[in-house]
């Protein structure tokens, strides 16, 4: 394959003489890799990358965090989640602060860990916090399917799973100044690259499904810049070793056996129709909200968000962390004020670790 240095020259060559080209990388894992590999510094001065809404921790709405805290604070509950949800702030509280106060909150590395915990603790209600996009949601579906097959009575799922297309469509149909998109490679492993065909077809923008190695990201950027400069409109799969056009059939079949599209609230975007995954009625006994009779509307009044935090604008690609008065001063990975500073894949956290603000200022 063509190496990074050669690709750098090829991008510079094709972008030469063009006006500003802004490309959005939708996926948080891409954001993190782009900084780790120093890819922004390899691009010509007229080609800029902005981060999008592809960090699931970052786009989890305050009301969902509030609901999670409410459930995790119960005496009869063992609350399980991926580690990067632990420090998402809700005012002065977080899952981590509840854990420190003695609540039984456990980090898992797979949804199936929740099943094992439920098996070992029959007197407790085990709740799994389902967060993530199409890559992660089928795993939660597998958990629910297995819990149902084994007739578990003490396991439920709080699903805040989301799907990407509706959020991308809302973001880019508003005249965002974005010229092309790098699409999330591991979401596409599940959905297939065809899922992103709506970007050229309906939004009139080139789209490239990208892998995660430096060469793969640079190759994808070359395809994106080339299409922008030459006026081509396609959805190109530059991660062909892992992504098929129709995706992973087993995973999609299971996903829609257990879930159905439903409305979701995204931090930074608000309510987006059919952008979430709701547990189907056949499996509703595994829905935490039903299990505990928790109407979400009861929790919405309590939403607290720091007034100067600009996570919402950052998630929309309209601001960068350097625009935020809190960044690096009162908001750090150790004490995050906004969700984008929490996950290792959040834009603010990535900027903080790799000196992004300093680099932007150059």
């Amino acid at each position: 394959m063509v190496d990074v240095i050669h690709l750098k020259e090829m991008i510079a060559q094709v972008a030469a003489g063009s006006g500003p080209i802004t490309i959005m990388e939708v996926c948080g894992t891409h954001t993190s890799r782009i900084f780790r590999y120093g890819i922004r510094e390899l691009l010509p001065s007229n080609t800029k990358l902005v981060s999008g809404p592809g960090c699931p921790v970052c786009v989890t709405a305050q009301e969902d965090i509030s609901a999670a805290l409410t459930v995790a604070n119960r005496d009869d509950v063992i609350f399980t989640c991926f580690g990067d949800m632990m420090r998402v702030p809700y005012g002065e509280s977080s899952l981590y602060s509840l854990y420190e106060s003695g609540r039984d909150i456990r980090i898992v590395t797979s949804p199936m860990d929740a099943l094992r915990i439920a098996q070992l603790n029959p007197a407790k209600q085990v709740v799994y916090f389902g967060v993530g996009f199409e890559t992660t949601a089928p795993l939660t579906a597998a958990l629910i399917e297995k819990a149902d097959a084994l007739k578990f009575e003490n396991l439920s799922v709080m699903s805040t799973h989301k799907t990407m297309p509706a959020a991308i469509e809302q973001l880019l149909s508003e005249g965002s100044g974005i010229a092309a998109l790098l699409c999330p490679g591991h979401v596409a492993v599940i959905t297939g690259s065809d899922e992103f065909g709506f970007i050229p077809e309906r939004l009139g923008l080139p789209a490239v499904v990208a892998g995660f190695e430096a060469e793969e990201i640079m190759a994808a950027l070359y395809a994106a810049v080339s299409m922008v400069v030459k006026g081509k409109l396609e959805c190109v799969n530059m991660y062909p070793g892992a992504v098929a056009s129709k995706g992973n059939k087993d995973a999609l079949d299971l996903l829609y056996k257990v879930f159905e599209p439903g409305d979701a609230v995204w931090r930074g975007f608000g309510h987006i129709t059919d952008s979430g995954l709701k547990i189907k009625s056949e499996y509703e006994k595994y829905d935490t909200f039903k299990r505990f009779n928790l109407p979400l509307s009861d929790l919405k009044d309590n939403v607290e968000e720091s007034s100067l935090c600009i996570c919402a604008d950052i998630l929309r690609g309209q601001s960068t962390p350097g625009d935020c008065p809190y960044f690096g001063v009162v908001c750090t990975p150790e004490r995050p004020v906004g969700a984008c500073m929490v996950s290792a894949e959040g834009t603010c956290s990535t900027y903080y670790r790799y000196g992004g603000v300093v680099k932007d200022a150059r």
Binding site: M1, C55, P56, T136, A142, K146, P240, A242, A251
Partner: protein, 72 residues
């Protein structure tokens, strides 16, 4: 969160694969890719096999190079 690692299946038992990541082995659920077999190079996300990868890095590189050339 959408991080996935590649490894090689070295054994399969009870719907779970033992996946070797260059010396470290971990179990991975096969529910999302039931046709995976011993010897397959796979992509694993949060304890689940989500894809079988092309056996050869070269064929993947070739496919990407072909795409790159299409835009040249």
């Amino acid at each position: 969160m959408c991080l996935a690692l590649s490894g090689k299946i070295v054994a399969i038992k009870d719907g779970e694969a033992e996946v070797d990541y260059g010396g470290v082995s971990k179990r991975a659920d096969l529910r999302l890719f039931e046709s995976a077999k011993v010897g397959d190079r796979v992509l694993v996300h949060a304890g689940f096999v989500i894809q079988i990868l092309d056996e050869s890095d070269i064929s993947d590189a070739d496919a990407i190079t072909k795409e790159i050339m299409r835009f040249g």
